[in-house]
Symmetry: D5
Subunit: 96 residues, 10 copies
């Protein structure tokens, strides 16, 4: 089932540059693996912000929480989750 | 280019049932045509609310506004638009 | 899986008393049936408000939305949904 | 009587890892003891957040405050308390 | 135990004057009876607003809700409840 | 005249424990003296929060501000002041 | 003593024009009398809004509330009151 | 022309006391000079807060911004500006 | 001098179509005349909303308020005014 | 196409003065180059705040995000983007 997730990233101002770079590289690697597995279905940048809108396709709340907790940037993100379902006007049969 | 649009519908309490039904039918017909044309790329219901999250793929701000204005439910919706762009960690080449 | 749902009811001031009474009776009957079926696991009144906090136990987002949409008071409620999962410190094995 | 309590945890970024681990272990031990005693009736994680929704069953405001103050993570939590009471549509006789 | 209650009154603009007057008279009569019984311990007007701050002394959440629900103006008020307890710096032994 | 004052305390995370203890002891001593003088008429703890609701009885805005400024915890508090007056339904003649 | 008062006016859309005109004329007459008496010390329009910022000089909370309640537009205004006092950097001796 | 300006001061917790004292002394000196020049027409303390409400009388937006930028406490203040104009019910001819 | 003005339009649901059309035509005629006179320097539609962002170039607060008050849609708009001034990094000498 | 962008700058309190000066100089140089290229069409200071309102004229969301990300002050700014389009009442043919 699908969940709409918005993540706003806020790294501490004093974080050393190489630590930040490592975190971002780890985050990217995991994000790409989860996309390849189909769990992280969409990932968009919000124009002008260090934030993203994502659509996750998971088995339920537990799996979603486990995925989000596993993100290297989790401790530095404000995360809002909105459960989605099929819209009666949608013409797509695989988009929910 | 992509835009994230959230629409919250609020029909006036006193609207006659057949007028509401006609509005919804017209809205659905147009929504499905715009999906078929590829302009309205995703359309999801927010669980528990008379609201949706949509992704539009249009040529720009002007086209987006014209599409939204043409919706039969436009006068009864609160609409929030967020411009999206490609996320550097996205593995998809056609999702922006 | 569990969802935390808060519902704030706001009946239109001009609704006839018998219509309101019928709506509430229908709502109560359905709420009790859903409780008996185990779908609506908890239902509490918020002190001082015409509002409740509920815990639903459903198969997923789709079922939750269908249940909420079927409530007679749905058109008159503001509903907020929060997906829950098991807390690592919980001692209960059947409370999620 | 029942109280709905939401706790959002925010540990200071610079807290040493072992201090954080000790705090969490102490918190967990106390949370489990209070659950066993029946004071902390429900404890759920909010999906995607370092936050929980809890239901406490205590003698009153004083006992609730004393319990919350005794939590090792209390200085690092934003806590919101909502008093609950029995909902007239509830079918349960022991859930308030 | 004590509860801090703020009530903001909003009568519908079209309510007939005599209906409003009757409501207010009934509200006043009940408010005074509850004060005499010691349930409604303090009742203050907020300067410049059709609103009050009140302190209720009741047996618990259930009694508080029943009292508030019984107020003639209940359908026209926005009510916020905050549970209070004894402050460790208070010098009074009967003010909680 | 009466003022409703809410104070939310937020001590800096890095404040040494003995400095915090001294501040709190000084605050308590002053709070108790002001209560004995009748200036600080009520002082309640908000359940679950490091915050209080207070009622001050002072000659006016100037005296209120001077008292609040003199509190040792003043630099660490968010303070909201609401002027109160007698409620027409109050049965008490000395509670305003 | 001085109070800062902001008033936002919202007349019901369906109010007859002559009733609105009469209300405004009465409001103006009273506002001018209170200014002449020195109670309503300043009265400014907020640019672009049907709202004002005012400074009242009254004996206390009770007098302020009585004055505001007596305004013909009171039922149609959202009013926010902020108690003021002398600023230590003010060079004026009669401006508080 | 007149502008309503609210300033909320927030000095960093770790600022040395003598630096804070110097800043405040410089602020006071400039505030008093601007009052003497008639640019800073009113300056009031908000009761219970390290904040003020001020009325500036300047030639326009540019002059207002230059004055506010020149305040020694500017980097530590949250500032909200509201343009004012003459109220049609004002009896004063020099208060705008 | 320049002011940033945001206007959100909300026509009453029950307004007759011809009255709405007349209002909009009058609004358009005046908006175009003010643009020709150089008072209303920019006028943009916000994508997806019945709202605009405008830049006014007027002599001051009084003229701005008079212009806004004269708009036929004024009673149906929520208006927010922000005074602007020249930015030190602007390369334009006529854009403030 | 045009985008309305508001930027609120917040430099960390402890940033060395020369680092801040260098950042601002770099920001100014880039802002001026982008204005000369026509990408950054308007740039205004908000009176009383370390913030600006800007109008960008770019090919779309991607270009806007790339420009904003390239600003030296980007890590220290809160940025809000609003897509604009031509207003039907605008008399200008090149202002969108």
């Amino acid at each position: 089932m699908l969940f709409h997730v918005r993540m706003d990233v806020q790294l501490p101002p004093g974080m050393p540059a190489d630590q930040a770079a490592q975190l971002k590289a780890d985050e990217k690697a995991l994000a790409q693996r989860l996309q390849e597995e189909g769990k992280w279905r969409h990932l968009w940048r919000i124009a002008g912000q260090y934030a993203n809108v994502s659509i996750f396709d998971v088995g339920g709340n537990e799996e979603l929480h486990a995925l989000l907790m596993s993100l290297p940037l989790f401790p530095y993100m404000k995360i809002d989750v909105t459960p989605l379902c099929r819209h009666p006007s949608s013409i797509r049969t695989n988009d929910f």
